[in-house]
């Protein structure tokens, strides 16, 4: 009896341990999320009174072609980025996990590949803005030097000012920042595959491509899903890089304005603040992210099931 009671009193310490987290969590995470939801149904501008206006903000978001253009911009940058980023990470993973070549230096290379991810987006944006400056940037100077060496001339490309080029430039920079991260994740997945599988395959006389397609690839599927979903959630919220690299006055702006930049304009840019509307944009973006994540989950889960079935039959 007495022991039981004492055990119960120990468990009450749990409340104390979770208390600081819970209080701050309620104030700075839960409340703001609910407050944004509430504001999305009001006409609050900067300060002052907020009136309930039902779904009007949401209807306006759906009808605004600039919102959809921003979404298209975001998806385009993310799409090009994820193909490059995952493709590169995948090739690297194949090289470093190859059973025949047994490449060395994984520890060194993954650190170097990860370096670009460490740097603040402000610094990355600023660095590339300076490197890619069409007249004085080192990039164009190097290309024109090479062109001169081969006896031709190079008409400098305006990497940042040209609206048709800059979305891809941003996508490439984004992949440059993130491929190391994806590579480390994929490598962790490969190293997590039990050695027995490979040994058994070797005993069965399976070639390295068979091993790759029948063992490595199917077992990596959950991690690829994880990388794709986290990248999508981050990618649809893209802000820092395009915001910092392209001025609103630039003619390229219309092609790089992301949904977050659109939200920022209505949420925080003096002169165009419409808090209620910006809140509705935030929730629309959330719904889109949710829908796409669920579709991704569904697609990957289906394949997973057939795989386990196959495994079970063996």
């Amino acid at each position: 009896m007495r022991k039981h009671k004492r055990l119960g009193s120990y468990n009450n310490w749990g409340y104390l341990f979770v208390l600081p987290f819970s209080v701050i969590f309620l104030i700075f995470s839960v409340y703001p999320v609910l407050r944004t939801l509430h504001l999305s149904f009001t006409d609050l501008k900067v300060m002052g009174d907020a009136h309930f206006i039902g779904f009007n903000n949401y209807i306006r978001v759906i009808q605004d072609k600039f919102f959809w253009k921003a979404l298209l911009n975001t998806v385009r940058i993310w799409g090009v980025n994820i193909v490059l980023q995952l493709g590169l990470a995948f090739l690297l993973m194949m090289v470093f996990s190859d059973v025949k070549y047994k490449m060395k230096g994984l520890g060194f290379f993954r650190i170097v590949y990860y370096l670009p991810n460490l740097i603040a987006a402000t610094s990355v944006a600023f660095l590339f803005q300076t490197l890619l400056d069409w007249r004085y940037g080192s990039f164009n100077i190097i290309i024109s030097n090479i062109a001169r060496f081969f006896g031709t001339s190079y008409n400098p490309v305006d990497w940042i000012g040209n609206g048709h080029v800059v979305p891809y430039v941003i996508a490439v920079i984004q992949s440059w920042m993130w491929f190391g991260n994806s590579f480390i994740m994929l490598m962790a997945g490969v190293q997590g595959i039990p050695k027995d599988y490979f040994e058994a395959a070797a005993i069965d006389g399976a070639g390295r491509w068979t091993v790759f397609f029948k063992i490595t690839l199917p077992l990596l599927r959950p991690i690829m899903m994880y990388v794709a979903i986290t990248s999508l959630i981050g990618g649809l919220q893209m802000f820092d890089l395009p915001f910092l690299m392209i001025q609103p006055s630039s003619s390229a702006y219309g092609n790089v304005q992301t949904v977050m930049m659109y939200l920022y304009r209505f949420g925080f840019t003096a002169g165009s603040i419409n808090t209620g509307y910006a809140s509705a944009v935030a929730y629309m973006l959330f719904l889109i992210i949710l829908a796409v994540s669920l579709i991704q989950l569904y697609l990957f889960r289906d394949k997973d099931k057939t795989n386990t079935k196959k495994g079970g039959r063996k």
Binding site: Y15, I24, V33, I111
Partner: protein, 283 residues
């Protein structure tokens, strides 16, 4: 048919090509930083005339020019004032909550854990506007508190450390401490934290880098120049400098903002790699 010897040669060539390719990618990863450091030592005229891989002698001159526009030492100090307490808060309170969730049975345990899982999935932009409204209401604009206090509640870190505690802390150890009459908080501070320290270090480094690099939130909360953290300060250079004349100074600004993180990384890269790997294997 290829002979065995031919095969070996073929493999060797293939291997060389692969090393060349991954080496080239390493150069691509590092080159912009190298160009940045070199250009930070060159004058604007030198930079616009030609590209060079050899440092020049204008470092001090660039620095003098740079601090005319922004108070970089102040920015570093501000970034430290925000990032260090925020990181310590995240590390300590996440470990506390994680331990509580992992080893104590109380009524709201499951609710808190479910809330953590949900908020790990919710993108940050959902709270942005509500958060700003809250800060204006509490008169916290231009204060560091909104950048530091929320660090106490970091759902991702709590989740990670809870899983870590469940695998690293044997329950018998806690019971033994109780039999010895140890107070629960004493047990946490003297026994649990040392056991959890590799996990805490891993999450702490990532939190520090995230805070140090954070841009959107400080930019929204802070609007006094003397309060700016380093990333916000660097971003103001865009309008403050005439790129044509001060390219060397701009490179230097970026270099100064990057070097502390590079130093952290060289010392702690092991922890960073392990935290990314943990994220992948967790699924």
């Amino acid at each position: 048919m290829r002979t065995y010897k031919n095969n070996v040669i073929h493999d060797k060539i293939m291997k060389c090509i692969l090393y060349l390719a991954i080496g080239l990618l390493a150069v691509v990863s590092f080159f912009p930083f190298y160009a940045m450091i070199i250009n930070a030592t060159r004058s604007g005229v030198e930079i616009s005339r030609a590209f060079s891989l050899i440092p020049s002698s204008h470092l001090v001159e660039n620095y003098v020019q740079l601090i005319k526009f922004v108070n970089i030492p102040r920015g570093i100090l501000n970034s430290i004032l925000v990032s260090v307490p925020a990181t310590l808060f995240t590390a300590y309170f996440s470990a506390l909550a994680a331990y509580g969730l992992a080893f104590y049975k109380f009524k709201t345990n499951k609710i808190v854990f479910a809330a953590i899982l949900i908020f790990m999935m919710i993108p940050g932009q959902l709270s942005l506007i509500g958060f700003y409204q809250l800060c204006t209401k509490l008169h916290l604009v231009n204060s560091y508190l909104p950048l530091i206090l929320p660090a106490i509640a970091s759902p991702g870190t709590v989740f990670f450390l809870r899983q870590y505690a469940l695998s690293a802390v044997p329950e018998t150890l806690i019971e033994a401490a109780r039999l010895d009459g140890a107070n629960e908080l004493y047990t946490f501070h003297r026994i649990i934290i040392p056991i959890l320290s590799p996990g805490i270090a891993t999450m702490g480094i990532m939190t520090f880098i995230g805070n140090w690099n954070s841009y959107l939130l400080p930019m929204i909360i802070l609007n006094k120049t003397e309060k700016f953290t380093l990333p916000v300060m660097v971003s103001t250079l865009r309008s403050a400098t005439d790129l044509q004349q001060n390219q060397g100074a701009t490179y230097l600004a970026v270099a100064i903002s990057v070097i502390p993180i590079m130093l952290v990384f060289t010392f702690f890269s092991r922890y960073i790699i392990s935290s990314i790997s943990a994220g992948a294997v967790k699924e």
